[in-house]
């Protein structure tokens, strides 16, 4: 990877005029980490967010007591411009990632809430409280977010010195399941409608409590994170970098590959590992295949939620072709099992290439015709228009991602803002619609289906030669960086801090849907109960994605001076299995 000039210096110097800022790290090319005082945190983030056009991409809370005796929070902002109007956007050479770090003393795990200034931070801070026991002072919403209600209070699973990863606390009796404290509206004559966790329209568990008067949704609240399984602790004993990719894939059944790429690239980014071009191209193809089947599913579901099963099944028929395509590509209907640090595990030979092109042609033709048939129905358009509107201001405040934000008139797309993998070399458009309603999102997806097909074609045509895998490089302990991928639902960010002994110290996954959830409440209001599944569906939510809170956290091995005996042991163990490649 050629060294480019460090981006984002401008922002740092501007920020330096206002606050005490210490630049602590430049990650390769476009990532800067700055350290600020914890009391400056809200103002710094606010300045970066609103004044300089940043969007909150993720926040990671970290237990660094073994490194420097403190906890730390990292707010990762994607600097791309406010984008509220046409042209209100940073030039490509200025777009970058800025990570704001603040240390929080271990004896006083409290920091001022950023969410009051930047609402987008609300879920992150709730989660930090759940998982790490870091309290955001002044945060209006102090309810539990990620942990289940029957999880004992006062135990913060991600602290290094808390529970063993296999610890399973006794559950409650079925009838005594603890009640979640929903934001019940004040007033009479309001009925609760539960949507989920096992609703027929959503194939994943999430519980939406709609507060309705007749058909109208007055307000909504939701309890998600039903699928929080605590993968993080798993990795402590079991997973190494090679295995992480597989658990990353299983963050989500649909955009698993995006997670895997994001996860692996976050570790590749920190060392600047030069992944072979062919591997990058294959990653791109797989990502787009994933986007194809995901979008086809979602457009189909929009029809199903409005009762048009025929259109849904026809769309599904097309989707099956993309699944077969994935099967040709990766050997399974999900784009799983493809990626390891340093490249990809499977190559694309000419047989597969030709097969793919055949499928592409059919999918494109069929989709064009089928979409025509779906959009043709005036009732369908009526059901979708003006429903679940994402207000532009709310969108700016909550940093949503993906088709959700692109349907609201913002051209945010990681592929376009921060090109990764092979996207630099490829020609594509970012479809943007301005109404913010369900229809806009459907149209954005429809547009992206065509773009994806074109991207895959370009990749297949320009597929570079060379190997698909290179050897891993050595990772500097406690270095950290982010991996970013535009999943079908929007940007996936993985923040990784590496431990010593070539294992991960902390892995913070922020799935795309995670950023879309908090603003959903405002999209619900005023719509009819009948539209609720449609609105939820139009986010193309990935419950498991966001709920996993996949902070895989590999317990670092203790640093010690390597004894001669250990060295030998290492030598012997290597010799022990000379046949293991």
């Amino acid at each position: 990877m050629e060294k480019t000039e460090v981006k984002g210096k401008k922002f740092i110097s501007e920020l330096g005029n206002l606050f005490k800022v210490e630049v602590i790290r430049h990650q390769p090319d476009d990532q800067i980490t700055i350290l600020v005082d914890r009391n400056d945190l809200p103002e710094v983030v606010k300045t970066l967010y609103y004044k300089m056009g940043g969007w909150l991409s993720t926040m990671a809370a970290n237990d660094e007591r073994e490194i420097n005796g403190n906890y730390a929070v990292y707010y990762v902002l994607s600097m791309e411009g406010n984008k509220m109007e046409e042209g209100d956007e940073l030039p490509p050479e200025e777009k970058c990632w800025i990570t704001v770090k603040a240390l929080i003393p271990a004896h006083d795990p409290v920091y001022p809430s950023v969410a009051l200034k930047v609402p987008a931070a609300v879920w992150y801070e709730r989660e930090a409280r759940d998982m790490m026991g870091l309290v955001a002072e002044g945060l209006p919403d102090q309810r539990r977010l990620a942990l289940s209600d029957d999880f004992p209070a006062g135990i913060y699973p991600l602290r290094k010195d808390s529970i063993d990863y296999r610890e399973k606390f006794a559950p409650y009796d079925l009838v005594k399941e603890p009640d979640y404290d929903f934001l019940y509206p004040e007033g009479e004559g309001i009925m609760d409608v539960p949507l989920g966790p096992t609703h027929i329209t959503s194939d994943e568990p999430g519980h939406f409590r709609l507060f309705v008067d007749g058909e109208t949704i007055i307000d909504a609240d939701y309890k998600l994170f039903y699928v929080h399984r605590g993968i993080e602790k798993l990795a402590e004993n079991r997973l190494d970098y090679d295995q992480m990719a597989f658990i990353a894939e299983r963050i989500c059944g649909i955009c698993g590959f995006a997670h895997a790429v994001s996860c692996i690239e976050s570790s590749e980014n920190v060392t600047g590992l030069d992944v072979p071009l062919r591997a990058r191209a294959i990653r791109t193809i797989c990502l787009e295949t994933e986007r194809l089947h995901s979008h086809l599913l979602n457009i189909g579901l929009a029809s199903e939620f409005t009762g048009n099963v025929t259109a849904f099944l026809q769309m599904f028929k097309i989707r099956e072709q993309t699944m077969e395509m994935a099967q040709v590509l990766t050997g399974g209907r999900k784009t799983y099992g493809m990626i390891l640090t340093g490249g990809v595990r499977r190559d694309i030979t000419d047989v597969e290439r030709r097969e793919m092109l055949k499928y592409m042609a059919k999918v494109e033709a069929d989709f064009k015709e089928c979409l025509d048939g779906v959009i043709d129905s005036p009732n369908f358009l009526k059901r979708l228009t003006g429903v679940g509107v994402l207000n532009k201001k709310i969108a700016r405040d909550f940093s949503p991602v993906g088709p959700n934000v692109r349907g609201a008139g913002f051209n945010r797309d990681t592929r376009y803002d921060h090109p990764f993998d092979w996207y630099k070399n490829i020609d594509f458009k970012v479809p943007v619609y301005n109404d913010g309603d369900v229809l806009s999102r459907v149209l954005v997806r429809a547009g992206e289906v065509f773009e994806s097909i074109s991207i895959i074609r370009q990749c297949l045509e320009l597929l570079p030669a060379g190997p698909v895998m290179v050897k891993k490089a050595f990772v500097e302990p406690y270095s950290h960086s982010i991996g970013y991928v535009e999943a079908p639902r929007g940007e996936d960010i993985h923040w990784t801090m590496h431990g010593n002994a070539q294992k991960v110290h902390r892995w913070r996954v922020r799935a795309s849907t995670y950023n879309n959830w908090p603003s959903l409440r405002f999209q619900f209001r005023g719509n009819s109960v009948a539209d609720a599944p449609l609105i939820v569906g139009s986010l193309d939510p990935c419950y498991s994605c966001s709920e996993r809170v996949t902070i895989v956290d590999v317990k670092k091995q203790k640093t010690k001076i390597i004894q001669m005996e250990d060295l030998k042991k290492y030598a012997i163990t290597r010799k022990d299995s000379p046949l293991k490649n």
């Binding site: 009925m191 539960p194 027929i200 329209t201 199903e304 099944l313 009948a530 599944p533």
Partner: protein, 311 residues
């Protein structure tokens, strides 16, 4: 009352009840065709489903009272009653005291009443919403049904007995008032379609939106009966339409009449499955707009009738 009438009544109701799952089966195969798939093994799939449900054990919500328990039986019996009194096979005037237009309209109301109460009784929020929607849909279509059928009653000289109406409509006199009749017929047909709860008007039992409403809480035989009652309701309302508006061809043989009736029913289902197959469910608010269009048609038929009488 002639004993043959009673016999015909029984044959008629049993035959229609036994054949009704077939219509559902036909619809399912049709839908499968639109969806490029094979669909059920044969047209008898719905029979198998229902028989199996009868054999299943049951669960129910703990807040349900006797209303919830008996509702499927009652709803089924009410709709069977409506089907029984429709003058299809029997046309004896002795039964006409039970085949009154308003009586049938209010039997539908009785069905709705039980449906609504049982919905709320189930304690299920979706059933509650479904119960409420059922009433709202009736509110939208009832004016049309009453107005358009009353116009036919006017044509028939003020008699509200279906037998008399049928006799009038099948007589040549109808040709003189054909425009009125057609307008009111189209309005009634539309209202019929809405009332059957087929897509795009299946707001009260929508599977996705409100999880089939009331049906969600039934299991086993009660589910079978409740489901059957809803199918019978469709047949009853379509049957009412057929009786009033399409009595032709008039044949003397009651069995031929029954077969003709079933064929007309099948034709309706055939075309309905086209609509069902490709349409997007309307929001209940839009249902109202659609229904007011039907009411306008019915009103036009009334105006035509008045003008025709004056002129």
């Amino acid at each position: 009352m002639k004993s043959s009438d009673i016999l015909y009544l029984i044959i008629q109701v049993i035959a229609i009840i036994l054949i009704s799952p077939l219509l559902d089966g036909v619809k399912r195969i049709m839908l499968a065709k639109f969806q490029s798939r094979r669909g059920p093994a044969d047209v008898f799939q719905t029979y198998r489903d229902i028989i199996k449900l009868f054999k299943r054990s049951e669960t129910m919500p703990d807040c349900g009272t006797w209303v919830f328990r008996t509702a499927p039986y009652l709803m089924f019996a009410i709709m069977a009653t409506v089907i029984a009194v429709l003058p299809i096979m029997h046309s004896g005037s002795a039964l006409s005291a039970a085949a009154d237009l308003f009586l049938i309209v209010y039997l539908f109301a009785l069905m709705r009443f039980i449906f609504g109460v049982a919905s709320v009784d189930s304690g299920n929020p979706f059933a509650g919403i479904g119960g409420s929607r059922e009433q709202m849909v009736a509110l939208f279509v009832e004016p049309t049904i009453i107005l358009s059928s009353v116009v036919v009653v006017f044509l028939a000289g003020g008699l509200t007995n279906l037998v008399e109406i049928k006799n009038f409509v099948s007589s040549p006199q109808i040709l003189k008032v054909l425009p009125v009749f057609i307008f009111s017929g189209v309005a009634f047909l539309f209202a019929t379609y809405v009332e059957t709860g087929k897509k795009p008007f299946d707001v009260a039992e929508a599977e996705q939106e409100i999880q089939e409403g009331l049906l969600a809480e039934y299991a086993g035989k009660r589910l079978a009966l409740a489901h059957g009652a809803l199918i019978l309701k469709q047949i009853a309302i379509v049957g009412l339409f057929i009786t009033i508006y399409i009595p032709w061809p008039v044949v003397g043989n009651p069995f031929v009449s029954l077969v003709l009736f079933l064929i007309k029913l099948l034709v309706f289902y055939y075309f309905a499955s086209f609509v069902e197959g490709v349409s997007t469910r309307l929001r209940i608010g839009d249902t109202r707009l659609a229904a007011s269009g039907a009411f306008a048609l019915a009103f036009i038929s009334l105006i035509l009738f008045v003008i025709g009488r004056v002129g």
